[in-house]
């Protein structure tokens, strides 16, 4: 199927690629289907809403931002995503990019967690204060 996107005009996607967020994500409960678009040239991963072209999140894998990113998923999430093993998980941190992009932050506290085996996704809110919702992507001297 063809979908209209925020950053890439129209693209062709396979329906099997669609990630289903059963609960949507906080702030956008009505949009439950997204596709992941990797753009190697730009170096970002895009999470594009399937039914709303203007809704697209720019993300990065948390491991590219902090060396040893790790967390424990709640039982509720494991059940909801029908996760069988940790290797099936793909994780993305949503970026918040202001006009002055040097002030870009990443939400490491509430990562997007996807079960790559069944393409179910959720935005998980992590326990504890290990990670920030506004993690500075660039050091100040950029």
């Amino acid at each position: 199927m063809t979908i209209k996107t925020k950053f890439f005009d129209e693209i062709e996607i396979d329906e099997k690629q669609i990630i289903n967020f059963v609960d949507g994500i906080p702030g956008f409960p009505e949009h439950k289907q997204y596709v992941i678009i990797n753009d190697e040239e730009l170096g970002f991963t895009f999470m594009q809403s399937v039914d709303e072209w203007s809704l697209c999140f720019i993300t990065l894998p948390p491991a590219t931002l902090v060396g040893d990113y790790s967390f424990e998923l709640s039982d509720e999430t494991v059940e909801k995503l029908e996760l069988e093993k940790p290797e099936d998980v793909a994780t993305f941190a949503i970026l918040n990019i202001p006009e002055d992009f040097k002030k870009m932050t990443a939400n490491l506290r509430a990562p997007i967690v996807i079960n790559t085996k069944n393409n179910k996704g959720i935005q998980e809110l992590l326990d504890g204060d290990n990670y920030s919702m506004k993690h500075q992507v660039f050091k100040e001297d950029v």
Partner: protein, 74 residues
């Protein structure tokens, strides 16, 4: 909404599995202990509000991707 008055060390039960205990009361703060099954998420409400706010801001970002990619690669 049900409103109950509780003193220090008094508790409230919600169903069979959830217990909420007032552990400390000071002038402008109460400390609350929560016992709930592990599969239930317990969060400060403002934390979820913050996630929502972050998401809304992210979605609104009007970033010039090409300029950004160029600047990062420098």
């Amino acid at each position: 909404m049900l409103v109950l008055a509780r003193k220090k060390d008094e508790a409230i039960l919600i169903g069979d599995e959830i217990e909420i205990i007032v552990t400390e009361i000071s002038e402008d703060k109460v400390k609350i202990g929560i016992k709930a099954p592990k599969h239930m998420k317990v969060f400060r409400k403002e934390l979820l509000e913050q996630v929502k706010e972050e998401n809304l801001q992210s979605a609104e970002s009007k970033v010039d991707l090409k300029a950004l990619a160029k600047a990062i690669k420098k």
